[in-house]
Symmetry: D2
Subunit: 337 residues, 4 copies
C-alpha cells in the first residue's frame, strides 16, 4: 500500500519517514514540504543511505496519483485545505494537525475560521484505546495532540471516581521538540538548557481538546486546568494529574481500575513505581502510574511526544484504517539509556 507524507521538514514528518522506512506493508511513494526541490537525505542528513526520494512541493493531485493514504504533518489551517482535496480525490487522510480534532465552535474559538466544515463531523479522533472501531471505518483521522494523548489516557479511567465539581489540575512537562523545529527564543539552547518554566498557564489550546474528549467519551463535564511546562530534554513528555476523589470513592483500588480499563491494550503499561520519560522514549507506549492520599489522587503518565504524541499513534491509526493489526511496524523498544 502506497503512502504519502506531506510536511516532511518538521520533527513529526521525520518520525513518520523513520517509521515507514521499515514498515512491512506501507511504502513511501511521495514526500512533500512547502518548497520541494531537495532530496530527503539532504533535508534530514540522518537518513543518508536509508531512503532515496526527491521531496516535492506539496500538491494534492500529485499525492492522489502516488498514494492511497496520506499523513499530513502540517500546521493547522494549511492542513484542512489539503484534507478537503485529498478526501475528494479518494485518498485516506491521517491529519496530525488540530484541524479536525474539535467540534466546529470550539475549533473556531481557539484556532481560526474553518474552511472544510463538511468533513469536520466525519473525522474520527484517533485515540485507539477509545475509538478503535470507528477508526477502522473512516477515511479521516484527527490525530490527537501530544498533551491530550498523555492526559486523556491517564485521566479517563478515573473520571467516574473524581469529584468533577472541584478543579482538576494537569501539570504537563514536555521536551523541547514539542515546540517544533522552527527557530524561536523558546527553543534556543541558551534559553532552555538548565532551565524549566511553565508557559501559557490555563491558556493552552490543548485544554479544550482534553475537556471536549472527556465529555464525548465519559459524558461528563469537567473543568480542566492545564499548565504546560518545558523541560530541558529533546523528546518525551510527563503528565502529572491532580484530582479530588468523590467522598464515597476513596476506598477503591485504583491500580485495579487502571488494569481493568486497559487489560487488552498492548500499548498501555501500568506501572507500580512512578513512570519516567526514558522508558517510553522511542516507543508508542503510554506508561501510567497512580497514587492516592486520602481524597487526593495523583496520576502520572509518560509518552514520547513525537511518537505516541504524534507519529507512531498516526501510524497505529493508519494500520487500523487499512485493516492491519494496530501494532504493525510500531516501535516498542525504548531509547534507554
Amino acid at each position: 500500500m502506497n503512502v504519502a507524507i506531506i510536511g516532511a521538514s518538521g520533527y513529526t514528518g521525520l518520525e513518520l519517514i523513520k517509521l515507514l522506512i521499515n514498515h512491512p506493508t506501507f511504502k513511501i511513494k511521495y514526500i512533500a514540504n512547502s518548497t520541494g526541490e531537495i532530496n530527503v537525505q539532504d533535508l534530514h542528513p540522518c537518513l543518508k543511505d536509508l531512503i532515496n526520494i526527491e521531496v516535492s512541493k506539496a500538491n494534492a493531485k500529485d499525492v492522489s496519483s502516488h498514494a492511497q493514504l496520506a499523513f499530513l504533518a502540517l500546521p493547522h489551517k494549511t492542513s484542512m485545505l489539503f484534507t478537503k482535496d485529498l478526501l475528494r480525490l479518494g485518498v485516506k487522510v491521517v491529519d496530525l494537525s488540530a484541524d479536525y480534532r474539535l467540534d466546529l465552535n470550539t475549533y473556531e474559538q481557539f484556532y481560526c475560521k474553518h474552511e472544510d466544515k463538511n468533513n469536520i463531523d466525519k473525522a474520527i479522533y484517533g485515540l485507539p484505546e477509545y475509538f478503535k472501531e470507528d477508526i477502522k471505518n473512516t477515511n479521516l483521522i484527527a490525530n490527537p495532540g501530544c498533551y491530550p494523548s498523555a492526559s486523556l489516557l491517564a485521566l479517563l479511567p478515573f473520571i467516574d471516581y473524581i469529584n468533577t465539581n472541584i478543579p482538576i489540575f494537569i501539570d504537563a512537562k514536555s521536551g523541547v521538540s514539542g515546540a517544533g523545529k522552527n527557530l524561536s527564543n523558546i527553543t534556543h539552547y541558551g534559553h532552555i538548557n538548565e532551565n524549566c518554566f511553565s508557559y501559557n498557564p490555563f491558556q493552552h489550546r490543548h485544554m479544550p481538546e482534553i475537556q471536549e474528549k472527556i465529555k464525548v467519551i465519559k459524558n461528563t463535564d469537567v473543568l480542566i486546568n492545564f499548565v504546560p511546562h518545558l523541560l530541558p530534554i529533546t523528546r518525551g513528555m510527563l503528565v502529572s494529574i491532580y484530582a479530588t476523589l468523590k467522598n464515597d470513592k476513596v476506598d477503591i483500588d485504583f491500580n485495579k481500575v487502571l488494569e481493568k480499563t486497559y487489560e487488552n491494550n498492548e500499548f498501555i503499561r501500568i506501572r507500580k513505581n512512578p513512570v519516567d520519560i526514558k522508558s517510553t522514549s522511542g516507543t508508542n507506549y503510554c506508561d501510567i502510574f497512580v497514587a492516592q492520599n486520602n481524597n487526593a489522587l495523583f496520576i502520572s503518565s509518560s509518552i514520547d511526544n513525537l511518537l505516541r504524541g504524534a507519529s507512531s499513534q498516526a501510524l497505529v491509526n493508519a494500520n487500523l484504517m487499512c485493516g492491519f493489526e494496530e501494532n504493525v511496524g510500531i516501535p516498542k523498544i525504548a531509547y534507554v539509556p
Copy 2:
C-alpha cells in the same frame, strides 16, 4: 567574626565556603568533614588559589576555640549531636539539616528519635520573610528545607483565599543537586539525563514541614499533597502549586496580594510572566508568579535549591543573628545564560 563550617564535603558545604570567601565580616576559621586530613582545595578543586585551610575531622570543642558561629551542613541525626554541644559551648548554630525544623512529635514520626529535646523548642525556623525578629534573637536556626522554602514563600500569601477543605497540590521540580553529592542510582548521569520522573509521591518528608509551618504562621490546618519530581539540570527548583479558591474570593487581584505581602522584602521578586529556574540560579531570590482560572489558582515559584534552598538562606539567617543587614554578602546576580 569567625565562623566554622561543619560538613564541607557536600554541595551545601561548598556553597557556604564560596559565599563566605567574599563575605565582608564573617571569616572562615574552621572547616570540617567526617574524615579531615585534606586541604579544602583538594576536596573541592574549583577552590584552588581561593582559600587555604586544612579540613579538620569535625569536633565541637575545636569549633568553639575557632569560631563564634557554626554552619552545620550535616545529615539529620548527626547534626543534633553537634548542635547540642556547640550551644553548650556558646557557639551560635545555623543548622541546615532537618533536626530542629519540626515539633518533636512530627520529627520523630518522619525522621528518627530526637537526642536534643531541650533545644528543639528554642530553634527558630529560618525563613526570614516570616520570622525576622525571632531570628535576630536566637542562637539556633533551623534552616528550612529547599522544597519548603520555595513552597511556603509561594503559598503563604494565598492561604486566606484558598478553600482549605479541598486538597492543595504541590508539583515540585528539583535539579539533581538536591539529591546530594553521594553516589546513587538516581544521580547517575545515564539515569536522569534526558529524563524526568516523580519520586515518593505524597510521602516526602518535606510535606509535613510545609503543613506545620502553615499552621504556625497562618493558624490554618491544610492538607498538602506534595509530589516531588527530578529534573535533568544540576541546580534550581521550580514549584507549581495548584489550589482551589473559596467561592467568595475569586475576584481578588492576586498579583496585588503578592505585592502587598512582600513589599519590603528584597529577596522576593513578583513576576508578571511565568517564573523560570535560570533567573534565580546563583542567587538568593525567590521569584513568584500567580495565575487564576475561575476558582483554580496556580502559583509558581523558582529558587536556587542550593542557595535560597540552603546555603545563602543560611547566611541571611547568620547575618540577622549577628546583627548585620540581611543582604550582606548575599548573591543576587543569576547564572544567566
Copy 3:
C-alpha cells in the same frame, strides 16, 4: 538459533537484549548476571511487556544447555574464564570485553595475567570491514573497544598517506554511558553535566589496541597519542584524528580514498560535511569526514558507543559467524531528534 547473554545488568547487556528481541533468527534463551534471581523486566524496567525471562546466576554449563552462541558483556578477566569453558562446551562466543583483543604480551602489560592463553591466538578481532572472512570461520570473536572501532575505521584508510614518523593524535570524545552503569564520581550528574574534560591522557588502554591493529592490518608501526574526553551526553562518540601527511601525498583527493576503501560496506557512510553524534546514535553506522590543510589531515568519525562501539557490532559478528547476512536485525535508523 538459541543465544545467551551473560552480563545482562550493564548498558551493553541491555542493548544486546533490545537488539535480539526483534532479531528474526536468534532467540534469547538464557540471560545471566552475577547474582541472578530477578526477572529481566525488573532489572531493566524499560523492557516491561517485551521479554519475560528470569535472569540466572551465570554458569557456563547452563549456557551450553540453552544456547549455541553466547554474548559476553562482562568485565575483562571475568570474561576469559567463561570463554574458556564455553568454547570447550562447544558454544560460540562473542566476547565484548578486552580479553582476546590483544596479543598476549600487550594484554598482560595493560590489563592482567591471562588465564586462557590457548584461545587467545584463535580469537578474531571483530571489526567486520577488515576481518569479514575470518569472522565467518571462527568460534571466538574479540569484539573491538568503542574508541578503537571509531578510531580504526577512520584512520586505517589514510595510513599509507601519513608520515608515521610524526605523532598521530586522537582526540576522542565519549558519552557518559562509556563509563558504564556502575556508580562513580565521574558519572555523577553534578560532576559531568555542563562539563567536559580529558581523562588518562596518553594512558588509556585503548591506545595499544589501536596501535596493534594498525600494525596487523597495515603492517605499519605507528605511535598513537590518544586523549579521551568525556562529553555531557548519554550515548555517542566523536573521534577527531590529527595527522601529518607525507610530503608527496598532499595532492590526493582524500574523499575518494575514503569512498574507495569502503565502497562495499553498508555500515560506513562518507560525509561531505563534518559528522555529528546524533546521526549515528541508535545505529550501527560509522560516519566519517575528512579535511586537509596543506600537510595537516583531520579525520572525524562518529559512532554510537554502545552499538557500533559494542553491542550492534557484536551482533554483526554473530550474524557472520552463523552464516547470516551481516545486516540482519542491525539498526540503521538514528535517534534524531
Copy 4:
C-alpha cells in the same frame, strides 16, 4: 568612573552588565543596543530589581556625554564605526569585536574592508598576561576572541620547545553560548542537545588570530590547524592542543615551564590533573594542564568563554587602562556544581 555598554542585547553585553553592577569604581551610566526603547530589566529579565536604566539606541555622541569609557559588545564592522567616533570624542574603548585584533591585511582577508585604518595600529591586544604595560597606556583595547584567549595562554609557554615545522593541532570545544544569542539552526536545542560536532575545520577566523599573536609575541612563524567543536553545554570552553616537541626538548619538565611562565599571574592556574570546564565557569581563570608522551605534547586549557573569553577579560583590560588593579571586581568563584 562612568562607563557605557554598547551592544547590550547579547550574552557578552549581559555579562558586562552583571560584572559592572557590583564593580566598586566603574558605574554604568549608559546602555545601548540597536533599537533602544526598552528597560534593561525587560531586555534581560534576570536583572529585575538589580539595575534600572533605559536602554538607548546606540549613539556615539550620547556615549561621550555619559561616560569616559565604553565597552563595545557589537558585531565586527559595526564596532569600528563606533570606535572611530568614540576615540575622537575622547572616550576610551574596550572593543570585544574582532575589528582591531589583526593587522590590516589579515583582517581584510578574513573579515571585510576596514573603515578605521588610522586606529588599527594603535589598538592593544588585550591579553593581560602578555601586554599588561601596553594596556595601561592605551585608549583602545582589542579584546581577544574566546578561542584565541584559551589557545594562546596554553600554547605560548611551549613555543620554544615545539618543532614548528610540524603541524600544531588545536581541537577546541565551545559551549553553545559562543554562537551567540541570535537564532540559528546550530543553536536550536533539538540540534545540539545530546550531540557534538566540529564546524568550519581549518577555516575558522580565530585561526589567523592565534597565528598572528604567536608571531608577535614569540617572533615565531607557526602553522596552526584549528578545529572548533560545539559542545552541548551553555557556557565554557575546553581547548586541547597537540604538538610535536623538538628532538632536544623532550626531557624538559613542562609543568615547571608553565609555573615559571605564569608565576605572577593570578588568573592562571596550573593544574596537576586534566582541567575541566566547570572549575572555570563563572570566573576569569584560565586553568592549564600539560602532559607528554615521548615527543608528543598535549596541553589542555579551560576558560569561561563569555568571561575570560570576552567580558571579564574586557573588564580586566578596563581596570588596567584606568589605573586600577587588574583584579578589581573580577570573578573567581566558579559555578560549581
